[in-house]
């Protein structure tokens, strides 16, 4: 009947109108909130990591922004970095893990590794940086961090008192060094590091060490000048090591591992 039909239509129209109005306002308000939060986040310049008062203030401002947009991964990662700089590593790791739910970055995983290492959780730190290397096997920073951790693990064992454990950790360390060269053959530092491996902590393998030092120096010479990384073992040190090898003497281990 026309009257019932028209009143039903009117009710339907009002219901649709209310739904559209509420949805439209909600969508508009949320869009505005998200954009405003992002804008303020980008506008605030991060302070120097040595200015503790400004860091605390910056952290508070980031916390307020996070309350408005809790799923902003970039914002939460920055907040975690600030917490880490303030020494609150536990909270920083929690924030990094929350940020990873919406914005997983390789750098965040590496940052977690560094915080875990600071807390003395070497095993978890080793696992985290190993995961970083799985997905970025040519990254020099990840390799050196990983090798440093493995070397620290190796030094926990005395070769005479704990020969089995020392040997096991030695194998892991050796494989990691060789893996770096295999995955990043154009990285001079990988070869120089491997050259070091064959002089200490392993027993001296002079010929292999000599070969690796030469390969490393050759890669350093042929690297693109604009992209050449700084050498972990300087040319002078490498030449001295080669000279000692040729004279049949031990070469000095790289300082960063000690």
């Amino acid at each position: 009947m026309p009257t019932t039909s028209s009143s039903a239509q009117a009710s339907f129209r009002r219901a649709a109108g209310l739904l559209a109005l509420l949805a439209g306002l909600a969508g508009f308000a949320w869009t505005l909130l998200v954009f405003q939060t992002e804008y303020k986040f980008r506008k605030i310049a991060p302070p120097s990591q040595y200015d503790r008062i400004s860091l605390v203030d910056y952290g508070i401002r980031l916390e307020r922004l996070l309350a408005r947009d809790p799923v902003n991964g970039d914002l939460r990662t920055r907040y975690a970095t600030v917490l880490g700089l303030q020494g609150a590593d536990d909270q920083a790791i929690v924030q990094l893990q929350r940020a990873a739910l919406t914005h997983f970055q390789q750098g965040s995983l590496f940052a977690q590794n560094q915080m875990l290492e600071k807390r003395g959780q070497v095993d978890q730190s080793e696992q985290a940086v190993a995961d970083c290397l799985r997905i970025d096997p040519t990254n020099r920073e990840y390799h050196t961090a990983y090798l440093r951790l493995l070397y620290l693990q190796l030094r926990r064992w005395d070769p005479k008192k704990n020969p089995v454990e020392f040997h096991q950790r030695g194998v892991i360390f050796t494989n990691a060094v060789r893996d770096w060269t295999a995955r990043a053959p154009f990285d001079a530092n990988a070869w120089l590091f491997q050259g070091n491996l064959y002089t200490r902590p392993l027993p001296l393998y002079g010929q292999q060490g000599y070969r690796c030092y030469l390969a490393g120096l050759a890669e350093a010479d042929h690297a693109d000048p604009g992209k050449a990384p700084s050498l972990m073992i300087s040319r002078d040190e490498a030449h001295k090591a080669i000279a000692k090898l040729l004279k049949g003497r031990w070469a000095k281990a790289h300082a960063n591992l000690s």
Binding site: S5, Q9, A10, F12, R13, R14, A16, G17, L18, L19, A20, L21, L22, A23, G24, L25, A26, G27, F28, W30, T31, L32, V34, F35, E38, Y39, F41, R42, K43, P70, V71, G73, A100, L101, T102, H103, F104, Q105, Q106, L109, D131, R134, I135, D136, P137, T138, N139, R183
Partner: protein
């Protein structure tokens, strides 16, 4: 097949345009024109937010429309159309995908943009002056698209005055709106939109202007070196030509005119490639573009990751916008598996950055919304493909037929581009797609005269 009009709803043309309709008649075209400019503006600043303007405007327009319905100042249009039901199923698939998402709030937040796109489509098709709306929006897009193409070409030759922020990856064609793929996804369909405006125009100057505009757009797309859009344009033109030929034979239209149209459509890209490029002292190394191994490897890995991730929750998917956050944990797990060594050479192509998207809309929908989402998406696209084609075959006049063939070609071009890129996840290319869909909707359900 009826045109879906329900007898108990008043024809739309009997409704005089309300103030809100008149407002939307100029606001939506302005939105289409301003969104790319706002995107450029945001790229000059070190912050995100290129979707903000489009999203906020559309949601606000929706609220105004709802207010009009609530107060009885605006008539409710006929809503019972199969395509709207299909969109509703898509919305259901989106909400069901929230079951497995690791952050429902994030998925909902990211869903604001595609919802705004659908609302933009809805605002166009429910307009009482739909054809006028479509004409204005198309003109606005073409106007701003030509500006983007001009600036993209100028950038390629080193002339630029905009200082982009660090978030823009430099390329030989910076593409003004952030990436050459993005620009090509916008300009490619505009080629077909301009082609659609040409049939039936008696003014020769309009014809020359239109062909010149197409040449300019094609030249910019060539310089952008975007393989997906090249392929899309080729397939789109081929589909449009075949459809036009079928219509011409069926309706016994003048084949000479049709053949001339096809010849022009084929000559334009060739002219851009073999005349304009050499004149500009440039060339395209097609072999290098087709075999750039790092890009192809990264695409394959993303697609592989999307399929593997989607199979974890095949019905409802991982959750909207969850491909990127889950990509690196997946890659880590993948590299711990026994098949990792076979993928060692893929890693340099993907390391050090986040993929953002799968670079294939269909696989991304499967990954994030499961079989339900993919099936509903394909249903919507299939609806427009099938009934849009039938609508073209129904036409009687040659100008209207060829116009719709060009639009259909644009639709096909976007579908091909979506298989290699993510045009529906960025505001400007989403607007263009919605306009093409609205044109097809208009051909399927012509507004009552």
């Amino acid at each position: 097949m009826d045109n879906g009009m329900k007898k108990d709803l008043p024809p739309l043309n009997h409704i005089n345009p309300s103030p809100l309709d008149r407002f939307l008649l100029w606001w939506l075209p302005a939105l289409a024109a301003l969104t790319p400019l706002v995107v450029i503006y945001t790229l000059l600043r070190p912050h995100e937010g290129q979707s903000f303007f489009f999203q906020a405007s559309v949601w606000l327009a929706t609220a105004l429309l709802g207010c009009g319905w609530l107060l009885g100042r605006h008539a409710l249009p006929g809503l019972r159309r199969p395509v709207l039901l299909l969109f509703a199923v898509n919305a259901l698939a989106f909400f069901l995908s929230l079951i497995h998402t690791s952050s429902p709030l994030f998925s909902l937040r990211q869903g604001l943009l595609p919802c705004a796109g659908f609302l933009f489509f809805g605002l166009i098709v429910i307009s009482p002056r739909r054809r006028m709306m479509l004409g204005r929006v198309s003109a606005a897009l073409i106007g701003v698209g030509l500006l983007l193409a001009l600036y993209g070409i100028a950038q390629y030759f080193g002339f630029e005055f905009l200082k982009y922020g660090g978030q823009v990856e430099k390329n030989r064609v910076i593409a003004t709106i952030g990436h050459p793929n993005y620009l090509a996804s916008v300009l490619g369909p505009l080629v077909f939109l301009i082609l659609a405006l040409l049939p039936g125009r008696p003014d020769r100057r309009f014809l020359i202007g239109g062909l010149s505009a197409i040449g300019l757009l094609l030249f910019c797309i060539l310089l952008a070196r975007t393989r997906a859009v090249w392929l899309g344009i080729f397939i789109g033109l081929a589909v449009a030509a075949l459809l036009g030929l079928r219509c011409a034979l069926r309706q016994r239209l003048r084949l000479r005119r049709f053949a001339l149209g096809v010849l022009v459509a084929l000559l334009l890209p060739m002219a851009a490639a073999f005349i304009l490029l050499p004149l500009a002292g440039q060339s395209i190394n097609l072999r290098e573009r087709l075999t750039s191994s790092n890009e192809i490897k990264s695409r394959f890995f993303y697609w592989n990751a999307a399929i593997d991730q989607g199979l974890r929750h095949p019905v409802t998917g991982l959750g909207y916008a969850m491909f990127d956050p889950h990509f690196w944990p997946y890659a880590i797990g993948h590299q711990k598996s026994s098949i990792a060594p076979y993928y060692y050479d893929f890693l340099p192509a993907i390391s050090g950055r986040n993929p953002g998207h799968v670079h294939n809309e269909y696989l991304e929908v499967f990954c994030e919304q499961g079989m339900l989402g993919l099936a509903s998406l394909l249903a919507v696209l299939g609806f427009f493909a099938w009934f849009g084609g039938h609508a073209i075959l129904r036409q009687s006049g040659s100008a209207e037929t060829f116009r719709l063939c060009a639009l259909y070609g644009g639709f096909v071009m976007i579908l091909v581009d979506a298989a290699f890129s993510f045009p529906w996840r960025l505001p400007v290319s989403l607007i263009v797609f919605m306009v093409i869909l609205a044109w097809l909707y208009d051909s399927i359900y012509p507004q009552e005269a």
